[in-house]
Symmetry: C3
Subunit: 355 residues, 3 copies
């Protein structure tokens, strides 16, 4: 089916996918959840992912759910980004799926208004993803949320899901499936891969496909976590800023929308790398302004710098501008820090409708 888009598609911002354990064995069991919800500036993630799955110990999972029920009503309204709890799920384990269904029900019953979507890990073939979508749809209906208001992101981390990747991405057309996130650790285990000589596979071919299928299906695509948070040289330990930036740049280069973050410093780096540079933004605004002006003059086809502006070209520029608008809405401190006031004004003023 040919897609024809007259308006830039709704901008789904996901430069950063920051997981935070929903409960930890500290005095304040919601320590990381609180810190994620209160992050400022570039440390504020686009998606905060309170983790009830592998990040929270089994005996703390109900505490994790409780923390969400307790914190979200007060704090979610002031949080700039989106909130996407990760529930339990496993295509190969019915008990785990049952717990996941209960977590989805509890969350949607109690704090569904403060949740943008649910992250579902360890999905299998298309049928399994469909059953996860159905579980969310059912709870959504049951607890009176508007149809499609609670979206789903899946972690792609099993051979079965990768085998069905194109079919799974096509489910995006129903507007509930919104994102594909890579999970390299479980994926490598599922394939029986081993870390030989300390080197782990990068799965470059798969990441290319993930980016492609997400684009084809209108979904966001996010890379996997980078866990060598700290490195050591000559006896001194330091935050591994270059290692993480290399991975995020590699992900940006092939068109992933965002990167997985395990730490506020990673969030700060990934937010910046996945943001249009001032030069990129300036060009986009220029072209759209020029296009709109020429259209206004009624000269038919519009040519800018010797190239006819068609819908595809226009849409690319419009997406850049819409992305910056979305960042500014969610995290004004970030746009203020990167673009000057004049450019920010033009971003607000320009008309993004292709007419």
């Amino acid at each position: 089916m040919t897609q024809e888009t007259r308006q830039p598609r709704q901008t789904r911002l996901c430069r950063t996918f920051q997981t935070a354990p929903a409960a930890v064995p500290r005095e304040n069991t919601a320590k990381y959840l609180d810190s994620g919800l209160g992050a400022e500036g570039f440390e504020a993630p686009d998606w905060l992912v309170p983790d009830i799955e592998d990040g929270t110990a089994p005996d703390m999972k109900s505490a994790g759910v409780e923390n969400l029920l307790d914190r979200l009503p007060d704090r979610a309204p002031d949080f700039g980004g989106e909130i996407w709890p990760r529930v339990e799920w496993a295509h190969a384990d019915a008990d785990t799926r049952e717990r996941g269904r209960e977590q989805v029900e509890t969350l949607l019953a109690e704090v569904g208004d403060h949740v943008d979507g649910v992250v579902v890990p360890k999905v299998g073939r298309r049928e399994d993803v469909e059953s996860a979508l159905a579980a969310v749809a059912e709870a959504e209906r049951e607890y009176g949320h508007p149809d499609g208001s609670i979206e789903v992101g899946v972690i792609v981390e099993t051979a079965a899901a990768v085998s069905d990747l194109a079919d799974i991405a096509r489910l995006g057309s129903d507007d509930r499936l919104a994102g594909l996130v890579f999970g390299p650790v479980d994926y490598t285990a599922d394939l029986g891969g081993r870390s030989m000589g300390g080197e782990r596979p990068r799965w470059d071919g798969l990441l290319e496909r993930l980016s492609n299928e997400a684009s084809a299906g209108g979904l966001v695509a996010v890379g996997g976590p980078f866990d060598r948070l700290f490195d050591e040289r000559a006896g001194v330990s330091y935050y591994n800023a270059p290692g993480y930036a290399d991975q995020v740049e590699r992900e940006a280069r092939i068109g992933l929308d965002g990167s997985w973050s395990l730490h506020p410093k990673q969030t700060a780096q990934a937010n910046r790398i996945h943001m249009p540079t001032p030069g990129e933004l300036d060009t986009a605004v220029d072209r759209i302004e020029g296009f709109n002006e020429a259209r206004g003059a009624g000269t038919g086809a519009v040519v800018l710098d010797g190239q006819m502006v068609d819908e595809a070209t226009f849409r690319n520029f419009a997406n850049t501008v819409a992305t910056v608008r979305a960042i500014g809405d969610a995290h004004p401190a970030q746009t203020d820090a990167v673009y000057d006031a004049d450019l920010r004004d033009r971003v607000r003023a320009v008309d993004l409708g292709f007419a």
Copy 2:
């Protein structure tokens, strides 16, 4: 479906896919078209692709079509290679497709006898490719050309086309779809990829798949353009011969049939790299001669150098010989320069039928 080929399949030569703007703002607007049609020796491309799409400015597109109507009747008959105009098309823009349909109609109405096929860019999912094939079929019928005489090559440069690549390649069985060509610039943009630190993605995984699906579907496969035509070292600028040759060799290694050329020098290099070496040709002729001789002696299974020659082995050697015949037919100066007279005579004489 198992393919069984008793004769070497028709050799579709496409070592070089040279695009040339159909019109440029010069005194002679057909400057590059004329130079492509008149190229000699190794600078003569296998496929000359007069470009009415992105290579020709919007206000010159009708001049581009006019140039083709004007030049092809006189000059195409003496051109050794094939002529494949690139028309406008875009799976996501109906107006562009409409212009493309009109361009196809005009070309087939006026100069269809001088055109081997049409190159269709920015195709989407299989359905979109089918509608491009149907547009060409309709114009072909309308203007009285033999069924299937006007073929189609598509530029693979959208996420949608890559998602459907295997299905698209299978359309090759209808004998109108003849080639898959990679378009890395638009592809990277469609995925939202960015050139980080000056490095662009190479899309190695995709190129492997392109080569595979083209082979599975009986299509030619062509790599993307290399636009760093010139390089500079210590203040001196030079034609970037090593950079382009590296790319072409990488493409030949994974089985792409040809390379995209933007310049006669690139054409000269790619024609040579994608040509069997004298050693490769000599071996192929030897084996086929030996096989035919043994077959003539009626000894049943034929063994050469300890290996039984089956149809697959025979076909590989026959394809090498048929390729050289095709090059000699189209560009005798090229085969004269590379193979000695004795080898050329044997190429002409040997029987390629597997009986």
Copy 3:
């Protein structure tokens, strides 16, 4: 369809896939077959693949079949691994397939009790693989072997097979298709690839997919042969141990189960690299013992080292243990050499049922 496994799946050991010509022009035409059947210690392969296809000259093929009929009844019962003859087959050549069918019939009629499966090379699209499976099923029925007792492994070495790879792997659910083996030489030829500047393509993207689809379909996956058996430095020739180990480690890293071996020394290396290390085994046994103890105490969900043990986790550990049991059954000298007696006892004693 979601797979739920309560017991560790039957462990199909295939660390090494050692091909041996079924007949060679020597005084003892079964020289390599005999040496494969009599290999000891780490030189004993998991799968011995007597080769009636490309490894045996055309005029010796019937001698090759005869050697199998002669040797297997006496020697197969004492051979620790599995025996998988490679017959002739080619999706693009009906005569070759007919010879393959006859070879399958002869083998199953005469020595079917001593054969674990049949390796089928040069398969094409899914339909071709289905017809190979049907040929084996028919001979199996005809000669009174239990249904499904003779399995099939296919060599993936054509564009057609790679195009259909996911569909082919799904045939694994019928329990006769058991393995996918990569054949890089024929594959490169089928795509028209060429060895430019001595460098051959590594097909990394394809190997990732092979590992994925094999895991998704419950099949074993094996890499391609490494033919630079010997290397030379400063006038001295030596067995290329590092070159082969590099390839095997690369294969283990991405989750291939085994590696192709052309020589007993390669077999010795690949057997060791694809074996769990003592540390990996110790961890697996520890976790399962701990899990079983906690389950016995009836405490509901079982948590070990802060992680809940679900079926997937349990199965991974159980597979490691089951693999070592299988190695010990087939090649006790190998486990004796690598694991100490205490660990071997715990491997035998531990209960692998997830209850």
